[in-house]
Amino acid sequence: MEEKLTQRSVWEKILNKLRKRSLWMLHYCTGCGAIELPPTMTARFDMERFGITPMVTPRQADILLITGYLSAKTLKRVILTYEQMQAPKWVVGFGSCTINGGMYWNSYATIKKLDRYVPVEIYIAGCMPRPEAIINSFNVLIQRIDEGKANSWKDYYENYDYYKKNQEAVLGKFDTLVDIKDDAKKFNIV
């Protein structure tokens, strides 16, 4: 093995093995993408065989699944939700709306690039993506967690000024009641 085996890295590897099989998902359903989730969760495609279940509160969720387009108003709620989640946390952008505005690209209120406002781990392309695509993307996420590559959430702590600047350009000044820079010290990121 190339990298050094410290006590910390060994623990991290074990934790990642455990994490990848118990992912709790908070789905933020703003657009039409929500219609693809019931078949994904229930008997036909059965997401739970990979250890993924829906979770009702952001405090206990690992994945934030954003289905469909975001307007300036809902983006604020997404940021508030995202900052409440406990790290490690992963955002999955679902559908072409989160990638580039989708079919609502020329609206005055639709957010175009989600990764300017919160760090996105995986995008699922399509309008709409089928449940197979969702499950496939979750499998990719599981694999990345296992390999220790799913570190997009750290980017929010490292480059908080960049995200904050983009958020305030759209939403104006607002307070999220979460001290991100203080949190970053806890994770030994800054």
Binding site: K73, K76, G101, W105, N106, S107, Y108, K113
Partner: protein, 178 residues
């Protein structure tokens, strides 16, 4: 078609509002063009005298070439089964004023709040005209025709570049076929 009930309603309206232009659009649909001043009295009579207890909606049309806003009030009668669309025109200014009918119908407050947000029309007598959907919006009322949505979106947001080779080939082929 004889339009019996429709003609009776128009006769009733004509008795009071002599200058109103009434026409039957089709079965069970009546259009009334009113003066801006008369809308409050008209709405009151609709509710109290002429048995139209239901205000379906208020909608706004931006006639930018004529420099006017058109407000359309839709009244429905459950007994007569007729929809009356009363139309008034107000000048197209930055903050045009008109009378609120919220004292007659409570739901009108909601419709008027929506129109105030999207078109900038001020309804005198309605004290609940704060923001509804566009809480973080400071720009001009977005449903006005002189607000060009696409131009605003292109300047305000940044877009992801996506121009792969296979797409360029398709575009080239499309040009040849034209």
């Amino acid at each position: 078609m004889e339009y019996k009930t429709e003609n009776e309603i128009i006769k009733e309206i004509k008795k009071v509002f002599k200058q109103a232009k009434c026409s039957i659009k089709k079965e069970r649909r009546i259009e009334v063009i009113l003066n801006k001043r008369n809308i409050m009295e008209f709405a009151l009579r609709m509710q109290k005298n002429w048995d139209f207890p239901h205000l379906s909606a208020i909608s706004c049309v931006d006639w930018i070439d004529e420099k006017q806003f058109e407000l359309v009030y839709h009244f429905w009668s459950y007994n007569k089964k007729v929809l009356v669309s009363a139309k008034i025109r107000i000048p197209r200014e930055k903050e045009p004023h008109t009378d609120s009918i919220a004292s007659l119908w409570q739901p009108a407050k909601f419709f008027e709040r929506d129109i105030h947000e999207m078109f900038g029309v001020v309804f005198d007598g309605n004290n609940e005209l704060e923001k509804y959907i566009l809480t973080d919006w400071d720009g001009p009322p977005p449903m006005r025709k002189d607000f060009i949505t696409r131009e605003f979106a292109l300047n305000f947001y940044s877009y992801r570049e996506y121009n792969p080779e296979w797409l360029q080939e398709i575009i080239k082929q499309g040009d040849k076929n034209d």
